[in-house]
Amino acid sequence: MLTLSGITKRYGGLLALDGVSIEFAPGEIHAVIGENGAGKSTLMNVLGGFIAPDSGTGSLGTSTPLPFGDPRRTRHLGIEMVHQHFVLVPEFSVAENLALSAIKSLSGALDLESATSKHRTLAARLGWTLDFNARTGSLPVGIQQRVELLKSLAAGGTVIVLDEPTAVLSDEEVSELFRVMGELRDEGRAVVLVAHKLREVLAVADRITVLRNGRIVGSTLADGTTEHELQTWMTGEALSPIASSSTIAGEICLEARGLQVSGDRGEEAIRGIDLVVRHGEVVGIGGVDGNGQVELAEAIVGIRSSRSTSLRRPEQIGYIPQDRHADALALTMSIKENFLIGSTTGPLLMPKAVNKGARSLIDKYNIKAQDINATVGSLSGGNQQKVVVSRVMERQPSLLVAVNPTRGLDFQATKFVHTAIGEAAQRGMAVLLISTDRDEIRDLATSVHRLEGGRI
C-alpha cells in the first residue's frame, strides 16, 4: 500500500496541492483525473520523487517513508514513472535506449542483446512488433511510447505510474495498453493512471479520484459512477455538447490528386492519395499514428516537398502542428512573441501593437496568463495550445490543417479548440483535421477518411 497524506505544495501564490491524502493499493488500477492545472502533474511528481512537497508525508507499506525529492531512491523502492513527455535519447537505437536504463554498471562490454532480452520477451508477450535497431527519434510518437513503457515495465516496479499514456495512442493501441495494465494489476502491482478522457478511465480503472484546484473533490469505485458525475466533479459544472458543424459545403478550397510524399528517411510516407476539402467543410482523417499523418499535413501546408498530378491550395493556410513543444512554440521566448510566430505583418514590430495584439488574444480566447512577457513555457499545456490555436485562427486562413489539435488537453481546453474549429468552419473555413482520436473526428468532421500505410 502506497500512502500519501496531507501533501501540500505551493508555487509562489499558487497552491498546487492543498492537503491531498490518497492511497494506492496493490492489485488495483487507480485513476487520478482532473482538468489541466488541477494538480495531477504536481502530485505525480511528488510521488515520483521529483518534487519535495512543502508539507505532508508518504510511505510505502507500513514502515518505509517515501524519499521525497529523490527520484533515484524512489525508483529503488519500486516506483516507476512513465512520463507523458518521453525521456528517450533520439539519436540512440531502441535497444540502446532500453539498455540505458537496464545496465547497472558503467564498466565491462556492452551486450545489447542480453541487456534487452527482458524487453524483447515483454514486447513479444504484448504482441508488439518493434524494430530494436531503429533510431528512436525516427519512430512515430506512438511507437516511442511503447519503448518508454517497455523501459518501465522491465524495471519491474511494484507501483507503475502512467502519466497520460493514451494521449498519443490510437483506439486499437489503447485497448492493447489497457490489456497490459490489467495484467500488471493481476500480478499484484499498484497501477496509477493519470488521465483526462473519462470514457477510457471508466473502461480501465478500478478506482477513480478526482482533483480540482489542488484538492481531492471525490474518490469512488469505477463501478459506482458515471461519466456525467465525474465531469461535474472535475469542472464544477455540467458541460453542454458542442454545436455540430454545418454540413453545407461550399467551393473547393484544397484539391490534391495523386499526392505522393516522402518521409524523413526517404520512405514513401504518402503513396498517392486524392483529397478534396471544400469551404465550410471539416474533412477528418483518422487512423493509427505513424501512417503518414505528419507527412501529409506538412506537404499540404507546403513545408515538405511532394509530387502530385495536380495540387490546388489557397495562399493562406493555417497550420496547427501535432507537437506544440517541437513545432509550434519557442518555449524560451515570451508569450507575446509566440503569438507572432507565423503572423508577423510588415518588416517592423511595434511594441505597442505587439502588446495590444497579445492582450486582445488573451482576452478573446480566455488564456490564463498573468504576464505577456513571461515565457510561454511557464503556461500550462492547455493554455500553450490556446496560444497556438488563437494565433492561427486570428489570421483567418482559408484552409486550416490541424494535426491532433487537442492531444493532451483537458475537457475545457478541448472544448475550446473544438468550438473554435467548428465555428471557423461554419464561417466558411476549409478544415483538414488529421487526428488519431476517434471521438474528435466523430464530433467534428463532416466527412471522414482513414489513413493507413500512406493510403486513404
Binding site: 497550420y319 509550434a328 519557442a330 518555449l331 514590430l349
Partner: protein, 323 residues
C-alpha cells in the same frame, strides 16, 4: 550583473596577486591607464571598438543558432579586402570600410552555405576557415599586398586621407568608435523590433517552429552568419583604418575570438555587449599600462577575461538552477 561586478573585482585582485603585483598598486595603475584623463579614456574606447564589433557579430550569429567561432577569420578577410581596395585608390575611408564589411560577410556566408547546403556545422567550418584566413593573410602581406619596394611582411601604410577621422591630435580616438556604438543600437533594434530579427531569434530558439511557420530557416541562418561576418570584417576595417594603418602577419590580435566572451558576458544582447566590451576595453587599456611596469602584464587581460567569463557562466548557471 550586480553580483558579478564584485566578483570581477575579486578576480582582478587575485590575478594581480598571482602575477606578483601588489593588488592595490596594480589596480591603481590599471584604473589610471583606463580612465586617467582623456588619453586613458580614449585608449579604453579604442580598445573597446573592435571588441564591440566582433561581439555584436557573435550576438547575431549565436542568437540564430549559428555558432560562429570564425570572427578571427572574418576579421582578417575584412582587413585584407580593405587593404586591396585601399591599394586600388578606389575611394575614401567610407568605401574602404564598406569593403571590409562585405569581405567579412562573404567569409561568414561561406560558413553558412557550408552548413545549410553541405551539412558542415558552422562551429567546425568557421574554426577551419580561421586557419585558411591566417594563411591568406601571410601570403597576401608577402605577396600581392606587400608594400612596394620593401622586404617587410606588411601592406603599404594608408595615406592620411584613407584613415578614419580623429577627434584630436592628442588621442587615438577615431570615428570608428562612434560607428561601433551606433551599430550596437542598430543591432539591438534589429533583433528586438523587426520581423527579421524576430525570425532570426525564432530560428535560433526553435528551428522546427520556424519551419512550421513557413519560414526559410536555412536562408535566415545564412543571412545571420553573413551579418555576423560583416560586423567582424568591419572590426578589422576599423582597426586598420582607425588605429594601425597597416596590416602585417600579426594583424588579427585575437580580436575575433575575444568577441565571443564579450557577447556571452553581455548575455547575447547587443546593449549587453556594449557594456561588456567597455569593461574589457578598460581592462585592456589598463593592463597595457601595467605591462610597462610588470613583466607579462599585458597577458593579464587574457587571464582576467577567461576567469571572468567562466565565473559569469557559472553564476548564471547557478541562478538558473535555483530558479
Amino acid at each position: 550583473m550586480t553580483r558579478f561586478v564584485p566578483a570581477i573585482i575579486l578576480i582582478l585582485l587575485l590575478s594581480l596577486w598571482a602575477f606578483g603585483v601588489n593588488p592595490i598598486t596594480g589596480c591603481e595603475i590599471i584604473a589610471r591607464g583606463a580612465f586617467g584623463g582623456e588619453i586613458g579614456l580614449s585608449r579604453t574606447l579604442v580598445a573597446m571598438t573592435p571588441l564591440l564589433l566582433t561581439g555584436l557579430g557573435m550576438v547575431i550569429a549565436w542568437r540564430a543558432g549559428m555558432y560562429n567561432i570564425g570572427g578571427e577569420g572574418q576579421y582578417i578577410i575584412g582587413g585584407l579586402m580593405g587593404a586591396s581596395v585601399a591599394k586600388l585608390h578606389f575611394g575614401g575611408p567610407g568605401v574602404i570600410l564598406l569593403s571590409t564589411g562585405l569581405g567579412g560577410a562573404f567569409y561568414g556566408a561561406l560558413a553558412g552555405w557550408l552548413q545549410v547546403k553541405r551539412g558542415v556545422h558552422a562551429a567546425i567550418s568557421t574554426i577551419l576557415l580561421n586557419f585558411i584566413a591566417l594563411q591568406i593573410l601571410a601570403w597576401a602581406v608577402t605577396g600581392p599586398l606587400q608594400a612596394p619596394g620593401t622586404t617587410a611582411s606588411q601592406t603599404a601604410t594608408l595615406e592620411p586621407g584613407q584613415m578614419l577621422a580623429k577627434w584630436s591630435n592628442r588621442t587615438d580616438l577615431h570615428s570608428g568608435v562612434l560607428l561601433a556604438v551606433l551599430l550596437s543600437f542598430a543591432v539591438w533594434m534589429l533583433l528586438s523590433y523587426t520581423s527579421f530579427g524576430f525570425h532570426l531569434r525564432l530560428t535560433g530558439e526553435n528551428p522546427l517552429a520556424a519551419r512550421a511557420a513557413m519560414l526559410n530557416a536555412d536562408r535566415i541562418r545564412v543571412q545571420a552568419i553573413a551579418l555576423s561576418g560583416g560586423l567582424c570584417g568591419l572590426a578589422g576595417g576599423v582597426q586598420f583604418l582607425g588605429t594601425s594603418g597597416v596590416i602585417d602577419v600579426g594583424f588579427n590580435q585575437q580580436w575575433g575570438f575575444l568577441g565571443i566572451p564579450v557577447a556571452l558576458l553581455g548575455g547575447l544582447n547587443a546593449l549587453g555587449a556594449l557594456a561588456s566590451s567597455f569593461l574589457f576595453g578598460a581592462l585592456m587599456a589598463g593592463t597595457q599600462s601595467l605591462s610597462r611596469s610588470v613583466l607579462g602584464g599585458d597577458l593579464l587581460i587574457f587571464v582576467i577575461q577567461g576567469a571572468a567569463v567562466l565565473t559569469f557562466l557559472a553564476m548564471r548557471k547557478r541562478e538558473r538552477g535555483n530558479a
